[in-house]
């Protein structure tokens, strides 16, 4: 900084390129905020993340404390979303439920990325037999309906939150493998990869330093969209009773719990359902916005 000021004092010409001070992240963030729908998605996702992180601070009541005397009570000032079939505060349960959904989403995506991306990258970079074998495996998995695969895995592994995450995670692996492979194929043909080779770089170095960072943006977009899918699937499996154990507040299980009382106390099923809907919508909007913001062709 000092040097720049000195130069200014000496009257040296200092060009100030416009985009200079803005790093790549701020750049994307800036472009993201220009789109109303994307911004809307970002706000929803931010609220979701905040409620998940701050659940103990912001939830008005204990999410598992029940009170049968007040069961199915409609919304009131004290209990804004009402009480469920065991008299528990629905708002608190929804706030704590966000935690579970967030954890499910993150773990599912991590499984998909950690297995799928390396598979795809190696398959695309080495080509030939490696590629053929990996891609036929991916084809087989893609031909299988995802939810069926997840159900099958749960049937093998048993009911429980951990197994739900593994099942849904594994069923997203082929998507990431495909995606990573196709970006690597496009990038490895570019000259800087050849230049890196001509400088004596090793394969692993080229993959980690040149191929992965350049193929990241479609993977980021996909994982945001997958977050929505993961939450939806987890809720679906929770609704079927294959997920968490009863007292734990999980949106799908809450929806199922409220199902029986939908005629007498519609709020019990409505609010968890609404939360699933809004959160999934938020991640989808954010994903779409990110896709546009990260697309270099749309840069102006």
């Amino acid at each position: 900084m000092k040097e720049q000021e000195l130069k200014k004092q000496r009257g040296e010409f200092q060009p100030e390129p416009m985009e200079r001070e803005r790093g790549p992240f701020r750049e994307v963030f800036h472009r993201l905020c220009k789109r109303t729908t994307a911004l809307f998605g970002l706000v929803i996702v931010a609220l979701f993340l905040l409620s998940a992180l701050l659940a103990p601070v912001i939830s008005p009541h204990d999410p598992i404390e029940h009170n049968l005397a007040h069961k199915l009570e409609p919304p009131s000032w004290e209990y804004p979303f009402g009480r469920d079939e065991l008299g528990r505060c629905i708002l608190s349960r929804i706030i704590y439920g966000a935690r579970i959904s967030l954890v499910i989403g993150l773990i599912v995506i991590s499984i998909g990325i950690l297995i799928g991306v390396p598979l795809g990258v190696f398959s695309g970079y080495y080509g030939g037999k490696v590629d053929f074998i990996v891609q036929r495996f991916v084809d087989t998995m893609l031909a299988f309906p995802g939810i069926l695969l997840a159900l099958l895995l749960i049937a093998i592994l048993g009911v429980g939150l951990q197994n739900v995450m593994i099942a849904v995670g594994v069923s997203t692996v082929p998507v990431y493998a495909r995606l990573a492979r196709s970006s690597v194929l496009a990038i490895k043909a570019r000259q800087f990869v050849e230049a890196a080779k001509s400088m004596g770089a090793r394969d692993l170095h080229i993959i980690l330093r040149h191929l992965l960072p350049n193929s990241l943006s479609p993977i980021i977009v996909q994982s945001t969209l997958h977050m929505a899918t993961a939450i939806l699937w987890a809720a679906g499996l929770g609704f079927l009773g294959l997920g968490v154990n009863p007292p734990t507040p999980e949106w799908g299980a809450m929806l199922n719990g409220g199902r029986l009382y939908i005629r007498v106390a519609s709020h019990v099923a409505t609010f968890p359902g609404l939360m699933i809907f809004v959160t999934v919508l938020g991640f989808n909007l954010l994903g779409d916005g990110l896709r546009d913001a990260l697309d270099p062709r749309l840069k102006t």
Binding site: R20, G128, A195, A196, S198, M199, G200, A201, H205, H210
Partner: protein
């Protein structure tokens, strides 16, 4: 001055669905230390492939170096293990490519990219390599190097990026620099600047250069020796001045006639070489230039001319040198 590089009967073929493409079909040449060799020819004549073959960067499959020797500092590069040749790439032999816009990784700062080479071959730590990178950037004439080192490639113009590439290529003081059409993608004024700089820096560092180009006019000043390639072979080879003054092969003559010159009247028309370069899958039996040659004879269609000396170190492959 000793012999740095000896290429002997190098053949690189590509095995494609339509047949075997003989991209490089038996070329031989020598390169002295500190010398600059111009490798000239039209698109698809095997210039780039022959240069890439030296450091074994031919994509395999479909390409394969079929035979030959590449003796560099006494070692046959074609026989080295993959690890050994990797140590040579970027350290002893460096390359500059045609497209400055795409030969840098867009997501890394240029400082990191040049520094990588230094960390790889000279085992410098981050701090040492940073000051070395600044020195290199200054060397290639990038103003305000301390600040520019943290910029991304898109913040540089084409000419500046090519300077960055040159800095990267020369970072480990290579003995040989292979410049594959380094100035094709930049405009004419920058071309001259870049070539001047390559010449100046390599002569200071004692680096030999193989300059690949299709532009005879541009390289004249910068090369000591020239090899003209046609259909995967060297058809004429000799000191640059000799080749310009006294070309022997009808193809070389044709190339020189098709370059605009300042000493010709402004209305003088350029003389093109008629026809297309031959299909490298189905090379004619005789001289590959025979179908386009204005002076072809019966013998040319059936027999391939072997290289022979017309002067002390001026070699030509033609049945009918002009002064015969």
């Amino acid at each position: 001055m000793g012999l740095l590089l000896q290429v002997r009967d190098l053949r690189t073929y590509f095995y494609t669905e339509t047949g075997i493409v003989r991209a490089v079909d038996g070329i031989s040449y020598d390169l002295q230390e500190g010398e600059t060799l111009g490798l000239v020819g039209e698109s698809g004549c095997g210039k780039s492939v022959s240069a890439l073959s030296i450091v074994r960067l031919i994509p395999n499959p479909p390409g394969k170096i079929v035979s030959g020797e590449v003796l560099f500092e006494g070692r046959d590069l074609l026989k080295l293990t993959e690890d050994k040749i990797r140590d040579i790439r970027g350290d002893r032999i460096a390359m500059i490519f045609q497209e400055p816009m795409t030969s840098l990784n867009p997501v890394l700062t240029i400082g990191l990219q040049i520094g990588e080479v230094l960390e790889l071959h000279r085992h410098l730590n981050r701090k040492e390599s940073r000051s070395e990178v600044i020195r290199l950037l200054r060397m290639v004439g990038i103003p305000d190097a301390e600040r520019r080192i943290d910029d991304y490639p898109h913040q540089f113009s084409g000419g500046m990026r090519q300077r960055v590439m040159i800095a990267m290529a020369l970072s480990c003081n290579p003995k040989l620099l292979i410049a594959d059409e380094p100035t094709t993608a930049v405009d004419v004024t920058i071309q001259a600047q870049l070539l001047e700089m390559i010449k100046e820096l390599t002569s200071r560092l004692g680096t030999s250069v193989i300059l690949i180009t299709h532009n005879l006019g541009v390289v004249a000043r910068y090369v000591n020796r020239m090899a003209v390639m046609y259909a995967g072979r060297i058809i004429e080879w000799g000191p640059a001045q000799e080749l310009y003054r006294n070309p022997q092969h009808p193809y070389t003559i044709g190339l020189l006639a098709s370059v605009p010159r300042l000493d010709q009247p402004r209305k003088a028309r350029l003389v093109p070489i008629e026809g297309q370069p031959p299909d490298l899958v189905h090379l004619p039996q005789g001289c590959p230039f025979y179908p386009r040659c204005p002076r072809s004879m019966k013998q040319c269609a059936s027999e391939r001319p072997e290289p022979r000396l017309v002067d002390l170190d001026h070699m030509v492959s033609c049945w009918l040198p002009l002064d015969a």
